[in-house]
Symmetry: C2
Subunit: 287 residues, 2 copies
């Protein structure tokens, strides 16, 4: 991946410097970083909007390729602590492409039916179809994160799940899905500020869930679970990116760029016509 030019506005391609490599240590990363991007918030926000049409064009090509019989797709997996900005990422970055080409799935607590099946069962059903940009708001990673933190799965079961995830993602990639896994990484202090902001704004009360506080108290355990899950499931076919997310504008710009880079590598093409153009012109003129 190192040969690609740096993205729009970046001095270096985010996929190169944010991808998780051997030896990675989550605890060492700065959640407030804006690495690779010299300008500030207002330039960043302007850049995001300027870049939307390019992402939308690439996505439309992928969508068209799917309609034309292609089987490729993209899957963006978003994981994060509460308030880290998954929702805003979806509305501002993913939401900039044609909604008809987007397949969103938000994974909440599993239903009774889902609990009866293996943890990947509900995930399989939400995989993006041909030509689609799939986006997971949480995912099968919850089964090695919250389950580890709360001890709902023991060590053996967690091992089984890491392996199952590796196999699942390898097959998914082999069948034509480009996988981008993102952890939006905020500090505990930043989460505190964002939760406070929700309590200060009547238009945001609905986003506040008292239950989030009990997870917040387990912050360190979560960071440990993320460290291990990311280590165990980083692969060339399904890379993890840990994106500093204290600055929402920066995180959005990075994820937009990760999507653009993946789509540029895929280089989807407008399908050739599956009909004789001159013949259709004549039939149309006579109709």
């Amino acid at each position: 991946m190192g040969k690609r030019k740096a993205g729009h506005g970046f001095s270096e391609a985010p996929e190169d410097f944010l991808v998780v490599r051997p030896g990675f240590r989550l605890a060492d990363l700065d959640t407030a970083a804006t690495a690779g991007f010299a300008a500030g918030k207002s330039e960043g926000e302007a850049m995001l909007t300027q870049r939307d049409p390019h992402l939308a064009d690439l996505q439309e090509r992928l969508f068209a390729e799917g309609k034309g019989g292609g089987s490729r797709s993209i899957l963006l997996i978003l994981q994060a602590m509460d308030t880290a900005g998954k929702g805003g990422m979806i509305s501002h970055v993913v939401g900039a492409v044609d909604v008809q080409g987007v397949q969103l799935a938000a994974f909440k607590s599993p239903t009774d039916e889902e609990k009866k099946h293996d943890f990947l069962w509900r995930v399989e059903k939400q995989l993006p179809g041909p030509g689609m940009l799939g986006c997971f708001d949480r995912s099968h990673y919850e089964d090695v994160l919250i389950h580890r933190v709360h001890g709902w799965a023991d060590a053996d079961e967690l091992e089984r799940r890491y392996s199952a995830i590796q196999d699942f993602e390898a097959h998914l990639h082999a069948s034509g899905t480009e996988i981008i896994k993102v952890m939006l990484h905020i500090s505990k202090e930043e989460q505190g500020r964002r939760l406070t902001a929700r309590l200060d704004d009547p238009t945001k009360y609905w986003k506040y869930n008292p239950g989030d506080l009990s997870e917040r108290r387990l912050w360190d355990s979560y960071m440990e679970a993320y460290q291990i899950a990311i280590e165990r499931t980083s692969a060339p076919y399904a890379p993890w990116y840990v994106v500093p997310a204290d600055n929402k504008w920066y995180a959005r710009l990075v994820v937009q760029e990760l999507l653009v880079a993946a789509l540029e590598r895929m280089d989807p093409q407008w399908p050739a016509p599956a009909f004789d153009i001159e013949e259709q012109r004549k039939l149309l003129a006579a109709s």
Copy 2:
């Protein structure tokens, strides 16, 4: 509905002058009309963009209401002849709100499994959840349109379906879903121009389907089927709007306004907090 102020840029509210009333005759309507909107295309397009944030704000309130326990939702049903602009409507109007609040369903030819069930079976499964903006790209109306045109359903069966649709939509409305039914109305000549344009542009070949020509030859039968279906299923709880669609910008502006009007009538409110704010502040400070 007559008491609402005319929408942004309109001299009269589109829902008032485009709603189907007794005595309506599809054949008399001008597909190129831009009624109620004095300005032209460039002003219309600028207006659409200016109005997006208002629609998005209303939609977010509805979404929040749904998260807060509310059961209301909106369902936009789009019907049209090929090339009339359903796709563009979805990407440019529906696509302007938060993608997380949108539930899209495109109804293609039914699958073998779907054919084994009554025609409303697959539709029920795609109804918008609480707080959602549902959008149907085609719908159960195909079962009284293409089925009538091709004689796949006889007169008795069509009668049964009109009644079934009435009951279905009445119950849907009673359970909290605001229904907006839109026929995007283009002329046969305009369809000819748009099909030709698809044959002239390699980035549009994938949108061209030779099979569309056979339906085009049945234009008059389709118009008759629309006339009858619209007559039989127009109701105060599920009104039909026939939107002149030769001018895409106008049709989009109108449908945006229909959505805005419906949402303003619904007047969704930010949910009250389901927790004690001061208590949460203290718990948060201590966490």
